[in-house]
Every structure is written in C-alpha cells, then in structure tokens.
C-alpha cells in the first residue's frame, strides 16, 4: 500500500511529526507480525504539522505538504494555483467546486485532500483540448450559458462528467446531471442547451 513514509514495526507507517496520537501505534499493532508477509498498514497523518501528499491532477503528479483537515478544493486553488475550481458554499450545496474524481463528479469542498491520493483528479483546467477550449467549454461559450460566470467551471465539469457516463443524454437527463449545480444568475435554460450542444459536438469529433 504505502510507498512512502517510514515503515515502523507494528504495521504502522507514520508521516509528519510525532504528535498527540502516539497511542495509535500500540493499537494498530494488533494483528501484525514480524514475518516477511506484508501486512496492510494503517497510515497515520499527524494533526499538527504537514504531511507529504502525492496528487494526480490533470495528468500531472504533484508532491506537496498538507494538513489532514485541508480540503481538495483548498489544495487545488491555494497550493496548486488551479483557481478555475470555485469556492461557493463550501458545504456541498452549490456545485461551484465540482471536479472529476476518477472521471466521476464530486464536490471538492467535501473531499479531504488526503482522500484524493491515488485517484485521478480532473479540474476545469484539465478539460481543455490542448490550447483550445474543450467541446463542453466551447458549447458554453457558443450558447452564452452564463451571466456572471462564477458557477460556470462547476457546471462545465458537471456536464463533462455526465457526458462521460451518458454520451447522448435526453434533456431530462441533462437537467438531472446538473441538478447539483446552482446558478444564482439563473442561466439554466442556456446551460441545458449548451450541454445538449456539447453532446452533439463530442459525437461528431
């Protein structure tokens, strides 16, 4: 499992500083043996201090130091500079922070950064077609599917996620697919149209 960190006896690998959770060692040791057979390890990240995390974002590998309480949203924006992903409610209700997690939509505000280790994260920056806009992005531009634009990255990623699961959705499936994304400007009609156009565009290309 763990490929980094210091493996210690007792089937526990620890990262960061020794902190107030030293008691875990004795507990997690239960069931482990000194045999050569690898025992799965409970990895512990200390509350105080920073621990090493490796993230796969938009096809790139990033190594960084994180606190366990940091969300994926915070890390993407404030540590990796990927500010396309927006903070809205930061409580799982608006969808502005939507990313793809192994190709499936998720709220990055409700995901601990540590939970993303070993998974492929795709943000709005990662769905460009090289230097050009990706089909969903282009469709949103073509259909004027926004006013202020704040919800737009989340809407686009939600549509991208939907189309990866269902390449030719009905209008009701589109409505359902973006139902976890609020638009305070009420651009919904255009957003639905953009999603339908994106589906058509993707099928042509």
């Amino acid at each position: 499992m763990s490929t980094h960190g210091d493996d210690e006896k007792g089937g526990v690998s620890r990262r960061g500083f020794l902190g107030g959770v030293a008691g875990f060692i004795g507990v997690t040791a239960v069931g482990s043996t000194a045999e050569a057979t690898p025992v799965p390890k409970a990895e512990i990240y200390e509350a105080s201090g920073l621990s090493k995390l490796t993230l796969q974002v938009n096809g790139r590998t990033h190594s960084l130091l994180v606190e366990p309480r940091w969300t994926l949203l915070y890390v993407l924006r404030d540590r990796l500079g990927l500010t396309g992903t927006k903070p809205g409610c930061e409580r799982g209700e608006c969808g502005a922070c939507t990313v793809l997690f192994d190709g499936v939509t998720r709220y990055s505000c409700m995901t601990l950064a540590l939970e993303a280790e070993g998974h492929e994260i795709t943000t709005i920056e990662g769905i460009m077609a090289g230097e050009a806009l990706g089909p969903v992005q282009q469709s949103f531009a073509d259909e004027d599917a926004f006013q202020c634009g704040y919800c737009t990255p989340g809407q686009i990623v939600a549509v991208e996620g939907l189309l990866r699961q269902n390449a030719s959705p009905s209008i009701d499936e589109v409505r359902e697919g973006v139902s976890g994304n609020l638009c305070r400007c009420g651009a919904y009609g255009h957003i639905f149209k953009a999603a339908m156009r994106a589906a058509a565009m993707k099928q042509v290309s």
């Binding site: 902190g19 959770v21 875990f24 799982g92 409700m110 601990l112 540590l114 939970e115």
Partner: protein, 325 residues
C-alpha cells in the same frame, strides 16, 4: 474552517475498529456527512479514520441463494444504477436515485447514508440541544416545520435517509464489525428513537462500523416503490417519503411492508397501513384505507401539521403505482 485532526488511513476493518477505539475518533467513509458536521462544529474530531480505501467493503453482488450483498462503501450512485438493484428492488434504486445531488451520490456511501446525523437546524447550529447533551429541544417551541410527527420525545428530528426506509421495507440485514467481533441485525433494528437514547440515532456501539447490507431474495410477485415529496425539485431531503414492498399473489396482497421517511426520528414502519393492504387487491379503497392507517396517531408540532395530509397523499399515490406489476 474545520478544527484540526489527525488522519488515519485504515487498510482493513480490523485497523479501523482499533483506531476508532480512541477518544474523539470519527469514521470517514464517503466523508460528505462527516465534513459537514466538522465544518459546522456539530462535533470536533481528534482523529478521522478513513475506510474509503478498504476494497472488501465495496461492491454490489448477488449471493448464492438469491440475496444481494451491498458493501458498506457502495455509493448511492452505484446502487441507483446497478442492474440487479433496479431489476429486483425498484424501491431501493428509486430511493438511492432520489437522494441528494449527483455529486453527493457519487461520493456518499450506503453505510454513511444509514449512519448520517440528523439535519435539524438546531442540531447543526450553535445550539446545545438535547441530542448534544443539553436540556432543551429548541425545535419543540421553535422552527419545526421539517420536524417529526411520530416518535418525538425530548427531540423531534426526522431520519434524513432515503435508502433506510427502502431497506427496512425490503427487510434487509446489516452487518456490523466492532471491538467485540461481528454481528448482523435487521436494518429495521439499526435506528433507534430518542426515548431509547437521545444522543444517537443508531444502535451502533462505540467503535462499531457497518460493513455490509444483505437484501433477501425478492419473493415471487414482489412489487416495490419509493415516493418522495420534497420542497425543491432538483434535490432536497424528504418532507415525507413512502417505501412500500408488497407481494401480490392471485390479485391480492399477501405480504406488505410500508415504511415512512421524513416523519419520525427513524424509518417509521406503519403496521396499520400494512394491515390495510394485506388480503386486498390494490385499488383506490385499499390505498385510502392504508393512507388513513398511516397517519393514525400522528402528533404534529406547531408548524408541521401539513405533513399529515401530505403523507396521506404520498401513500395513496405510492400504493396506486403498484396496482400493475
């Protein structure tokens, strides 16, 4: 901002149970409810014990004998779209599909859905209510339009899960691992009322975790459905919901389980509604009698009397939707 906590990535159920033995340890499956609670400071965590990487806790598969095993980490999205569930247990597929938003269904697990904390705004807010160890239920004399009409006693929450009423209707079993070993109980016995213990919503003991759910084989003639009424069409918790699993043989209901959501601190089985159906054909008069039975004994608070007729209507509709296979 959440308070700081250490993070334990458990590689096995055993490790998770051991790590949960520590004061202030909190279980993390999908994390959606946990992060919400931590952010609202409903409680703090000394450590967060994540089981999200434990493979054996995932998956949906048929068992020999015809039951279906749903791992605790199966997401609501997986349950809603799984062919086995859709084919055999429409009530469960519909309930899972009606919960939360696409993003939350992709992340939220069935184990977490059953164990999620209540949505009462006093509980989630800065109020030391009875459920948090205080002496007052602020909802009782306060803003209570989303609170319970059955089973309240010192606390008037409703159980927020959509999947739970469906699983109780299907008479599913839940397996639990803990410091004392493993045990299996009916999902019906998982949730408890405030009068049993006002501080928790399930019968899980400290350090116990849900590991899997087993839904029994569908009986011949099983018809099932989930009807949810919510304030906001796009996504919302249930104002009221109805889960029905009925076996129809030779034109008559031979067995039925009717379980109500959004109206009580736990999934609320209505024996009166079941009795009104059993032995009868599914028609309007049976539906009306079942609906009348379901609201018997309701004790609305100042602002939620609307739930009584709403529940009647939802139940009538749910029953009538089963008139044809």
């Amino acid at each position: 901002m959440m308070g700081s906590f250490s993070y334990v990535r458990a590689g096995s159920v055993k490790q998770a149970v051991a790590a949960l033995a520590h004061d202030g340890a909190r279980l993390h499956a999908g994390g959606t409810d946990l992060l919400g609670c931590l952010r609202d400071r409903v409680f703090d965590a000394g450590s967060v014990v994540s089981i999200s990487g434990i493979e054996e806790l995932g998956g949906i598969a048929a068992l020999s004998g015809g039951s279906v095993r749903i791992g605790a980490l199966a997401t609501l999205a997986e349950i809603a779209s799984h062919p086995l569930i859709r084919e055999r247990y429409p009530v469960l597929a519909e309930a899972a599909a009606s919960a939360a938003s696409p993003q939350l269904r992709n992340q939220g697990t069935i184990g977490g859905n059953l164990c999620q904390r209540p949505r009462c705004w006093y509980f989630r807010g800065d109020f030391i209510c009875t459920r948090k160890g205080g002496s007052l239920c602020y909802a009782f004399d306060g803003e209570n339009r989303y609170h319970c009409i059955f089973g309240g006693d010192g606390c008037y929450i409703v159980h927020p899960s959509d999947a739970a009423p469906a699983l109780v209707a299907l008479d599913a079993q839940v397996s639990i691992a803990g410091p004392g070993g493993s045990r299996t109980i009916a999902v019906e016995d998982l949730h408890i009322l405030p009068k049993q213990d006002i501080r928790r919503e399930t019968s899980l003991e400290a350090g116990e975790i849900v590991t899997e759910i087993v839904v029994p084989p569908p009986r011949a003639g099983l018809r099932s459905t989930y009807r949810k009424v919510r304030e906001r069409g796009s996504w919302d918790f249930a104002l009221v919901s109805v889960a029905i699993a009925a076996v129809v043989a030779a034109g008559k209901v031979s067995a039925a389980r009717v379980v109500l959501g959004g109206v009580a601190p736990k999934p609320w089985r209505s024996i009166a509604a079941e009795a009104a159906l059993i032995g009868h054909a599914i028609d309007e008069s049976a539906a009306m009698r079942a609906a009348a039975g379901a609201v018997e004994g309701a004790q609305p608070l100042a602002q939620n009397a609307y739930k009584v007729p709403l529940l009647r209507g939802a139940l009538e509709e749910a029953v009538m939707s089963l008139a044809r296979p």
